[in-house]
Symmetry: D2
Subunit: 296 residues, 4 copies
Amino acid sequence: MTAPRATLDAVNALDRAGFVALLGEVFENAPWVAETAAAQRPFASVAALHDAMTTAVRAAPIEERLAFLRGHPDLAGEVARAGAVTAASAAEQGSLGLDRLSEEELARFERLNAAYRERFGIPFIICVRRHTRDSILASFERRLASTAEEEIAAALEEIGYITRLRLVARIEGPGMPRTNGHLSTHVLDTVRGQPAAGVAVSLYGIGQSARELLVSTVTNADGRTDAPLIAGTPLRIGWYELHFAIGDYFARMGIAAAEPRFIDVVPIRFAIAEPEGRYHVPLLASPWSYTTYRGS
Amino acid sequence: MTAPRATLDAVNALDRAGFVALLGEVFENAPWVAETAAAQRPFASVAALHDAMTTAVRAAPIEERLAFLRGHPDLAGEVARAGAVTAASAAEQGSLGLDRLSEEELARFERLNAAYRERFGIPFIICVRRHTRDSILASFERRLASTAEEEIAAALEEIGYITRLRLVARIEGPGMPRTNGHLSTHVLDTVRGQPAAGVAVSLYGIGQSARELLVSTVTNADGRTDAPLIAGTPLRIGWYELHFAIGDYFARMGIAAAEPRFIDVVPIRFAIAEPEGRYHVPLLASPWSYTTYRGS
Amino acid sequence: MTAPRATLDAVNALDRAGFVALLGEVFENAPWVAETAAAQRPFASVAALHDAMTTAVRAAPIEERLAFLRGHPDLAGEVARAGAVTAASAAEQGSLGLDRLSEEELARFERLNAAYRERFGIPFIICVRRHTRDSILASFERRLASTAEEEIAAALEEIGYITRLRLVARIEGPGMPRTNGHLSTHVLDTVRGQPAAGVAVSLYGIGQSARELLVSTVTNADGRTDAPLIAGTPLRIGWYELHFAIGDYFARMGIAAAEPRFIDVVPIRFAIAEPEGRYHVPLLASPWSYTTYRGS
Amino acid sequence: MTAPRATLDAVNALDRAGFVALLGEVFENAPWVAETAAAQRPFASVAALHDAMTTAVRAAPIEERLAFLRGHPDLAGEVARAGAVTAASAAEQGSLGLDRLSEEELARFERLNAAYRERFGIPFIICVRRHTRDSILASFERRLASTAEEEIAAALEEIGYITRLRLVARIEGPGMPRTNGHLSTHVLDTVRGQPAAGVAVSLYGIGQSARELLVSTVTNADGRTDAPLIAGTPLRIGWYELHFAIGDYFARMGIAAAEPRFIDVVPIRFAIAEPEGRYHVPLLASPWSYTTYRGS
């Protein structure tokens, strides 16, 4: 979403058609949601606008709500691949590579989609940008065991996440709803009692079948990275590893170690459970000992 | 080496031929070493016997010493594969799978062997039981850069390790030379201030190209493993990972965590540099923090 | 209690008078307890003998049990100071200095004793050897709020602790009841990955009004103290501080620090709650960081 | 120094007399230093102004420099007590209570002053605001062993610290020299993986003979204190203790512990060596374990 964002003031001042033109796609294939919200302007905050749109869905008769849910594409489904979805939906699914699955993976998703549709009469809806492939598959399997009522609630909750992200991509202004997480680190040298500068840090996403290098950076003079490891986007639920090349650091500091070094590259494996959370994962290290923790 | 070991007293009482029959193979293709040592009996300790044999080699004229070194087989070499080496040598090389290398690996060893022989006029000698394939290859490359004098000294030092192990496999008695290392762990639950019992622990050997599961065990009521992770043998120089299933443990204790758990399986990567050393690698853990160190 | 202990076998073989002569004082002013137990010999373990004696008390009619409880001296009371108690009782009270209280302290104990007697009709009974003065006063105040039934049970439980200690001072044999605690420490140098040897360690008892040096020692080559800090006796419930002179240690190792040192003497303040427990309180330290925990 | 500070621009624009009126007292009894610097205006930064004044002193002939040093009052001396020093000097000495010493302490200072003057011909000069009484006495004793040349250099270095503080109390503007330190803390709850909020924190100054409560505060929702423990002033070189009431915190969180608690109030003893330094002293704690370190 590279178009400049409209200010909330400007959005409050649009005519009804302009408002729907801008926000009609936020709720998938349901411009009536924007139409309903348009009448309640002005909004004092972006969060209030989102609440109004969500309330419009929740207030709709059950048949209309189900029709709305049925208007969503299957995950990694043929409709999505054939292009008959909103641009936002296509971009979201593409972000995880769901549009480039192998035949085998595609078959797995299609089996799950079919089972889910058969059981609940609606497509499986999930906010892809808050997930890894593994966590989507885990959710899929867990949610297949729910009741229909629970799944309608779950689908609406996921739509809340999806539309919140779509909204903040289109509008800026006071009272932005929280949509972004934050992952950072910090390396302390406990031999010298100082931040460890110049430590190579790599962040990997750890899938069931593969690991992917997400970030490769180096600590600065304060032992932190110049930019957060992840920010400005939801953190994807799933497993990660941070690798710290602390052995090379201590060698540069002239601090003696064994050969090979007892500790060289420290892997810290952790999971992210809250996509909008603040995760700080520091390392306190000597050549022979280290401590990590979820900090703040 | 499953034959029962002779006592030092019995060895001191053997006739010369019996002594050489028992110990003639300890120094590869050099029964004269045992013959020389035989005359100095009785020995008060196994270490003293080993010293006497080593001294016999070091006291020999340089040409004899070189002939002795040249009597050793190539690592992973054709002679070894064709069976023309001592049983001890075959068992040692087999312990690392050097008798079952792929064509490519074999070619790499043969190139290194040839380069080493050409440069120093002797085969590359290393105590295989103290090494992993990676550390042998690293030694090979490092030692190719030495001088001939350094390499004769290095070869004799390695022969010291090799023959010490062969000797303690044949004799038991007072003053055994130190040939074994020790690797152990301990898991503390810092939430409850108690040993963490029932934690699944796996030890992996980490090679350049592959990882190998070495031990799979579970902590006991004291948070330790019933048997050391490795004992009764030299520790192989190289990289290892301990994996602790601490997330499952805290779940069994009913201690709340996120879903997925921030910390689930903790990997601790470390290197062993001293094959005869004592390595204690404990874990102090909560669901959100852990500390490890080289203990004692 | 410096007399040699009788073996359980010898005790089983004594005649009835000899048995009562040996064990009649174990239960304060109640030789009938030993008489009852005498008939049940032989005992297979010291714990079984103690159980038999305890059962004799619990089986006695309530009036007899109350008389037994009333036969105990007041804590720090005039009877005790005047010598009209068993030698064991005098030694136990003396171990805490209860026979050498200031006038003010004595007045406090007498007020508590009087209040307790008035409320429950029995003296306040507590196993002094498991307590510090502070924990006795805290127990006194807490127990004054109990019901009479709870206090009879509490008194019998304390008598169990008292008589167990008296019994193991007189008899040795299989199945000794657990009466001793254990306090130990261990210092690891995380800069060098080795035990910290030669670290001065002091253990203080921390009372409300004063601190008392209990042990002053130095770590050995394994980073431990040659003897446990406390062993062979119950640990007194209360507050303690361990002081580790880690700054001097790192200075001896030639490891740079600021002047004055950021960390010099590390105080670790902890409480003992289980007199028969095993407390291991290690220190992992660099000149700029340390970790402590209840180990095992 | 509660008068409003002049801006550097205003100071650059003053006439010579006004400049000397404002800054003549910065160098004790040496208005000529300000006079010399006045000619070099304008200054681009406050640090540049300080450098110019310092350079004026260093460039003066040795006799003038010595006269300047001799113009300083004795520490805790009669001149100071009688009021014949600059207001700044009186305030500085008063900050440590050097104007309210006991007869015994005064006698000690006078002995040291006399010994120092006799040895070096100048008064002992030290920037009091960077010190505790203990660190002044330690410096006194250490510096008595120096050579005269070393002491002239040391005195000028201390005057640099003193005058930097006096200057920044009078002027504000770009390029302020660093004169302030910073002491902060942070408490992490490793049982819940969150900042520990509501933990009572006390900071004590630890002297040879007494301890003084400096700060008493409580952690906020982020586990930090709303204000730094010390900021806006140099940190005094010396010993400190932070006390964290972590036992009460875990009790409020409903996390089980022994009675009495193994860990209740955690004392962390540390020294400050750099008055202009940034000291961050965090605590990672469970009811059974904790870690502290010099952070950043």
